[in-house]
């Protein structure tokens, strides 16, 4: 069978990081303790940052480590610490629902894989510029200035909303 893969160094690096990412995700689904799940997903996020570096997206990789590994995972661990998980792993399983969900996910993956295999992607016309980070900064403050400001408003709203939601409600006199 001709898989049409050229075994270059980039492909080996991609293969290693992809195996790490998939292993982290699958283990995260299989672990019974919630903390193990969170740490395993952090491993997946680090592997994805490595893949971004392979794709010449250094700034995105840096933001991935800072935001996902540093902020989202720690936020989830705080959420785990503030809630009780004593009944974890002791609920009865739901084989029917899990089988149906697995079949659905496999069907979705089959459709996606078939579409990817049968699509023909034209070869890239040019290469990315060398100094990505500087170009991203220039673009963010020129062409994408309005979305950038909107995102800052969204972050402020989400911050205030999170504080207001999680605040303990006052006792009514």
């Amino acid at each position: 069978m001709d898989w049409n893969i050229d075994f270059t160094g980039e492909f080996f690096a991609f293969f290693l990081l992809a195996v790490c990412a998939i292993a982290g995700a699958v283990l995260a689904i299989n672990f019974t303790k919630v903390v193990h799940t969170a740490l395993s997903l952090a491993f997946t996020f680090v592997s994805l940052a490595g893949l971004y570096i392979l794709l010449q997206a250094e700034f995105v990789a840096f933001v991935q480590v800072l935001l996902y590994v540093g902020a989202v995972t720690i936020l989830m661990i705080f959420g785990i610490m503030m809630t009780k998980h004593q009944s974890e792993g002791r609920e009865p399983g739901r084989p029917l629902l899990e089988t149906l969900a697995a079949i659905g996910c496999l069907c979705l993956f089959g459709i996606l894989f078939y579409a990817i295999r049968s699509a023909s992607f034209p070869a890239p016309e040019a290469a990315l510029p060398e100094d990505n980070v500087a170009s991203i900064g220039m673009l963010l403050y020129s062409a994408y200035a309005i979305p950038f400001e909107l995102v800052s408003v969204l972050l402020t709203v989400a911050f205030i909303g999170a504080v207001a939601l999680a605040k303990r409600e006052e006792e009514q006199p």
Partner: protein, 102 residues
């Protein structure tokens, strides 16, 4: 299969694993984490197309930066809602969050 196809396949695998977690897990925190995994798979697609697409440009990377920001906001609000719900019902089991359906 070109490198672009490999990246798209990896993103599809991660997305399907995240979807399976969302559909089957009962712990609300694991459901939130699985949603983050699905968002990450989509980001990988965006960044892969920004290098290997027909016209490589930085637009894909900038889109993925915006989607990461929105995902961070979503995680913060999600955890806040979860803690407010936990204070009320003393459980993180999503099967018991059914006030709207009653």
């Amino acid at each position: 299969m070109s490198m672009l196809g490999s990246y798209l396949t990896l993103a599809a695998v991660l997305f399907c694993v995240g979807l399976f977690g969302v559909l089957t897990k009962r712990n609300a925190i694991i459901v939130l984490l699985s949603i983050e995994l699905m968002l990450n798979a989509v980001n990988l697609n965006l960044v892969a197309f920004s290098k290997y697409g027909a016209q490589p440009s930085l637009a894909g990377q900038i889109f993925s930066l915006f989607s990461m920001t929105v995902a961070a906001a979503e995680a913060a609000v999600g955890i806040a809602v979860l803690i407010a719900l936990y204070r009320r019902k003393a459980t993180v089991n999503v099967d018991e969050y059914d006030e709207l359906g009653r």
